[in-house]
């Protein structure tokens, strides 16, 4: 059986899980000619690639730079200037330095200190929703929680959230590969320039009034000569962007999954002690990142195929999370599934630094949501996802309680 190479086909965007099941069955390490790279879908192969940072580079900007002509590169220079300093796209040793700077702020214990604050935000948001009797999940619930927390962690709670959201959406067209938008690099350049310009001023202000939060930690590393001011600004852009976009999608996707599996909603409502395994299962079942990309630095064998130096690999995170060789009954949502070593946050050195934060935010959101409400009904069944290769992002979802 042949499987289509069109990762942007409407049915693939709507239901990536069926597509990746078919691809895993037909050709688990697949050369996708249309995308121009390998697609890896077995759990075993996915973790092998993710945990091998020596053979696989995350330097997306470096590899993109080599593909582009000077004329193509020049107008999108701001994307390179900012994203080249992001730890997600950095290889060691730069990655080790950047991650080492912030890792301590994101450990599960450090993050637990924010739990009461997150609970208060969730309660506040849910009060408003309860009064209305309905919500648009993405805007009313999913977006509010992570944005508030990440800005606080950075030490700048009063930034302009509406602007950050708007610029982040433009940058997201490039980051999540909105392949149907030919001007995605143009929009992303505009968004990232605005976001970086804004953060530059924020960083300058923070330099005058330092605290013990993330921006000040970056500034400390700059003062010690470890990173440049450009690195500081770029990683502030990363935190503001990465700190809300994906957690927002996790909360939205999780809400939909629980509505589609009302027995599980009611199970969690009845026994909230399962909240930790419940969130891991929601991450596995329909996480916010379908795929991630690496570039082979050398010829390397994966699942019987040789990936040649310089070739790129689309790592099927959602595919691995539904691999029947790893998970019994992978398409059913079981909130008590344990162990559950999913790859929703990636694995290896690039495993999401914000994972403990996203987990905690989701735990608080879903514990409160199921405690307060019975299973809502979906107002309109024609909800859609943003068409991207990487993200799993609902455009909107209206529900009624």
């Amino acid at each position: 059986m042949t499987v289509s190479d069109n990762l942007m086909a409407p049915d693939v965007i709507h239901d990536p899980h069926s597509y990746y099941h078919a691809l895993r069955d037909a050709d688990p390490v697949h050369w996708n000619d249309r995308w121009g790279g390998w697609v890896v879908t077995r759990y075993e192969d996915v973790i092998k690639v993710l945990r091998n940072a020596e053979a696989f580079s995350a330097d997306r900007m470096g590899f993109l730079e080599r593909e582009l002509t000077d004329e193509e590169r020049e107008p999108i220079t701001p994307i390179f200037e900012v994203l080249s300093s992001w730890m997600v796209f950095a290889d060691p040793p730069l990655h080790t330095d950047l991650r080492g700077l912030v890792n301590r702020q994101f450990t599960p214990k450090a993050i637990d200190g924010y739990r009461p604050q997150v609970r208060a935000i969730v309660d506040d948001v849910l009060d408003g929703i309860e009064a209305k009797g309905e919500m648009e999940v993405v805007r009313d619930l999913a977006y509010q929680i992570p944005m508030t927390v990440i800005l606080d962690l950075m030490g700048v709670p009063d930034l302009n959230r509406i602007k950050i959201k708007q610029w982040s959406e433009e940058l997201g067209l490039f980051f999540f590969i909105r392949a149907d938008e030919p001007r995605r690099r143009h929009f992303a350049t505009r968004g990232v320039s605005a976001l970086a310009g804004y953060m530059e001023r924020v960083v300058e202000e923070k330099a005058k009034n330092p605290d013990d939060k993330l921006i000040s930690l970056f500034l400390g590393a700059e003062a010690a000569g470890k990173i440049t001011r450009q690195d500081v600004v770029a990683n502030c852009v990363l935190l503001a962007f990465g700190g809300h976009e994906t957690t927002m999608n996790l909360i939205a996707n999780g809400t939909l999954a629980l509505i589609r599996n009302p027995d599980q909603w009611l199970r969690l409502k009845k026994d909230p002690s399962m909240i930790r395994t419940a969130i891991e299962e929601l991450l596995r079942y329909d996480g916010s990142v379908k795929t991630t990309v690496r570039w082979a630095r050398q010829d390397v064998e994966v699942g019987g195929e040789t990936i040649k130096a310089g070739q790129r690999v689309l790592i099927g995170l959602s595919a691995a999370n539904r691999d029947p060789s790893q998970y019994a009954d992978p398409d059913s949502l079981d909130l008590t599934r344990d162990p559950n070593l999913h790859v929703a946050f990636g694995q290896g050195i690039h495993v999401c630094v914000g994972a403990p934060l996203a987990r905690m935010e989701a735990q608080e959101a879903f514990a409160a949501l199921t405690e307060r409400f019975d299973v809502p009904e979906i107002v309109s069944e024609d909800y859609e996802y943003w068409p991207t290769i990487i993200g799993r992002s609902l455009q909107s979802l209206r529900v009624r309680f």
């Binding site: 973790i47 994101f106 599960p108 162990p339 990636g346 495993v351 999401c352 630094v353 994972a355």
Partner: protein, 74 residues
Amino acid sequence: MAELEIVADHNRCVGSTMCVQLAPTVFALDDAGQSTVTDPGGAARDEIIDAASQCPMEAITVVDARSGEELFPG
């Protein structure tokens, strides 16, 4: 006798390598890219606890072998 009992839980370890970076004389990666304990006495107690605490998965447990007290996560 080692003073600490250190366990890296392979049902949780995602191979972030934080422990190996912070306490390379105590932790190493196995063939699957997960953490293993090579020498529980290979570094000072505080260093080991710090390395364990920086694991994004809280996959590492550190116990005082004599008293049985769990030093991390505790």
